[in-house]
C-alpha cells in the first residue's frame, strides 16, 4: 500500500489519543471493509489505529433484558454465541448470513455499523431492535445513529465500544442476498417487544437503512405475515443499480417483510 503507519492501541484512551495526533488517522477493526477500500484508493489514511488489542471491546454480556455486544466481536462469534442464540436468535442468524466464513471470522459489528453501508445487515438489526450504540463519549439511539449513505452520528475520533440490544418478544430477519457479495439486495428486520413493533429495511433505501412506518402500523394491529401481504414502499428514495431497479426493490421490501414476520415463528 502506501506508507501507512500502524499502531495497536492498548486501551480506548490510547486509541483516541493516537487518532488525534495523526494527520489522517482511521480506526481499524476487522479490516474487511477498510483494507479493500484503501487498496482501491477510496481511502488514504496516514495512520491505522488497530482496536483489536482492547480486551473490553471483545465481550458479549447479558444485563437483565439487554444483550450487550462489544464493538470488536466478530460475526462468527455473534452467530455462535449461546447468549445471542438464547436471547435474540434472529441476530445470530443475521450474523451467520454475512459474507462468507472468512469475512465472518474477521469482520466486526462495530466496523459494520460505523461504516453504515446501505446494503449491510447489522444496521437493520440495530434499527429493527431499537438498539443503543455505546461510544467512548455517549450513548446514541439507533434511530439517531444512521444518518445517511455511509454516514453516522459518530464525531471525528469517536469510538463505538458496544451495541446494547433490548431483548424482544419476537424478532426475525429475511434478506434476498446479492449472490456475488452476499450483501442484502433487500433485507428486512422485524421485531415486537416492549418498545412496540419495529420494521427496518436495508439494501433498498438510497439514503441507507430506514424504518417502514406503514408496515409497523399494520403489524401493530395484527402481527402476521398476512397483515402486510402485498404491502410495498414508495419507489421514490429506493436505490437503483445494475443489481436491481427501484420498483423491484420496493416490491421486495413487502416480500422480505412478510418472510421476516414468518421467521419470527
Amino acid at each position: 500500500m502506501s506508507d501507512i503507519n500502524y499502531l495497536k492501541a492498548a486501551d480506548l484512551e490510547a486509541a483516541a489519543a493516537s487518532l488525534k495526533s495523526a494527520s489522517e488517522g482511521a480506526y481499524l477493526a476487522g479490516g474487511m471493509t477498510l483494507l479493500p477500500a484503501i487498496k482501491l484508493g477510496l481511502n488514504q489514511p496516514s495512520d491505522l489505529v488497530d482496536l483489536g488489542g482492547i480486551g473490553a471491546l471483545h465481550t458479549i454480556t447479558v444485563d437483565g433484558e439487554t444483550l450487550v455486544i462489544g464493538a470488536m466481536v466478530n460475526h462468527y462469534q455473534v452467530a455462535n454465541s449461546d447468549d445471542v442464540n438464547g436471547r435474540i436468535p434472529a441476530l445470530a442468524d443475521l450474523a451467520e448470513g454475512i459474507g462468507d466464513p472468512q469475512v465472518r471470522n474477521r469482520g466486526t459489528i462495530g466496523g459494520s455499523i460505523a461504516n453504515n453501508d446501505p446494503a449491510a445487515d447489522y444496521p437493520a438489526a440495530c434499527l429493527g431492535l431499537g438498539a443503543t450504540i455505546i461510544t467512548n463519549q455517549r450513548e446514541i439511539a439507533a434511530d439517531d445513529f444512521f444518518t445517511g449513505l455511509l454516514e453516522t452520528a459518530l464525531e471525528d475520533g469517536e469510538i463505538i465500544t458496544a451495541v446494547s440490544f433490548p431483548v424482544p418478544e419476537k424478532a426475525g430477519y429475511a434478506k434476498l442476498q446479492n449472490p456475488a457479495s452476499r450483501f442484502a439486495l433487500v433485507g428486512v428486520f422485524v421485531s415486537s417487544g416492549a418498545g412496540g413493533v419495529r420494521v427496518a429495511v436495508t439494501g433498498a433505501g438510497a439514503s441507507g437503512v430506514f424504518r417502514a412506518s406503514d408496515a409497523e402500523a399494520a403489524l401493530s394491529g395484527d402481527f402476521s405475515a398476512s397483515a402486510i401481504a402485498g404491502a410495498s414502499v414508495a419507489e421514490g428514495g429506493m436505490l437503483s443499480d445494475i443489481h436491481a431497479a427501484a420498483d423491484y426493490r420496493a416490491h421486495l421490501v413487502g416480500v422480505m417483510a412478510a418472510r421476516a414476520v414468518e421467521a419470527c415463528g
Binding site: 500500500m1 501507512i4 500502524y6 474487511m32 482501491l40 469475512v103 471470522n105 474477521r106
Partner: protein, 155 residues
C-alpha cells in the same frame, strides 16, 4: 519498516517489513512461502486463505502487523514428514483440482469447516466454501473430497 514476528507452520519467524505490508505479501515475499496465492486481491476469491490462531482468514485483507504474535498455518504447513494431511489426500484421491490455483485456500477453508463441523452435509460444505472461488472444477469434486476427508478425519 518494522520488525514483525509470528509463528508460521510451527516455526517462530521475524522479518523486517513495511508497517502496512499485507500478510499475504509478508508470507510470499519475506518468508518465500509462495504456496499462499493471491487471486483477486479484493477479498473475494479466497485463494489467499491461511489459518490464523485456528480460524481461516483472507491474508490479502489482513496486515502482517495485525498478525504480530499470531499462530499462522499455510499450505506448506499441512503435511507432516511428507505425509499429506487427510484433506490434501482426499483432494488428490477425488480429483478435486485442475489448475490448482484455488487449492491452497480451498484446503485451509475446508479444514476450518471440518474442525467446526466434523460431520457436515453436502449443503453445509457448499455454504462453508462460499468464500473460495474455483474457476476450473465446477466444485463437484471439491465437495466430494471435503465429505470424504471429514469421514476420514472422524475415523
Amino acid at each position: 519498516m518494522s520488525e514483525i514476528s509470528m509463528t508460521v507452520n510451527g516455526r517462530a519467524v521475524t522479518a523486517s517489513a513495511a508497517s502496512d505490508v499485507l500478510l499475504a505479501d509478508f508470507l510470499r515475499q519475506n518468508l518465500d512461502l509462495t504456496g499462499t496465492h493471491v487471486g483477486c486481491d479484493t477479498s473475494q476469491c479466497g485463494a489467499c486463505v491461511v489459518q490464523m490462531d485456528g480460524a481461516s482468514v483472507k491474508s490479502c485483507t489482513i496486515l502482517a502487523a495485525q498478525a504480530e504474535g499470531a499462530d499462522i498455518v499455510t499450505i506448506e504447513g499441512l503435511a507432516t514428514n511428507g505425509d499429506m494431511h487427510p484433506m490434501q489426500k482426499a483432494f488428490h484421491d477425488n480429483h478435486a483440482l485442475q489448475c490448482g490455483f484455488c487449492t491452497p485456500g480451498m484446503l485451509i477453508s475446508a479444514i476450518d469447516l471440518v474442525s467446526k463441523n466434523p460431520d457436515p452435509t453436502e449443503a453445509e460444505v457448499r455454504k462453508g466454501l462460499e468464500g473460495n472461488l474455483c474457476r476450473c472444477t465446477g466444485y463437484h469434486n471439491i465437495v466430494k473430497a471435503v465429505l470424504a476427508a471429514a469421514q476420514d478425519m472422524r475415523g
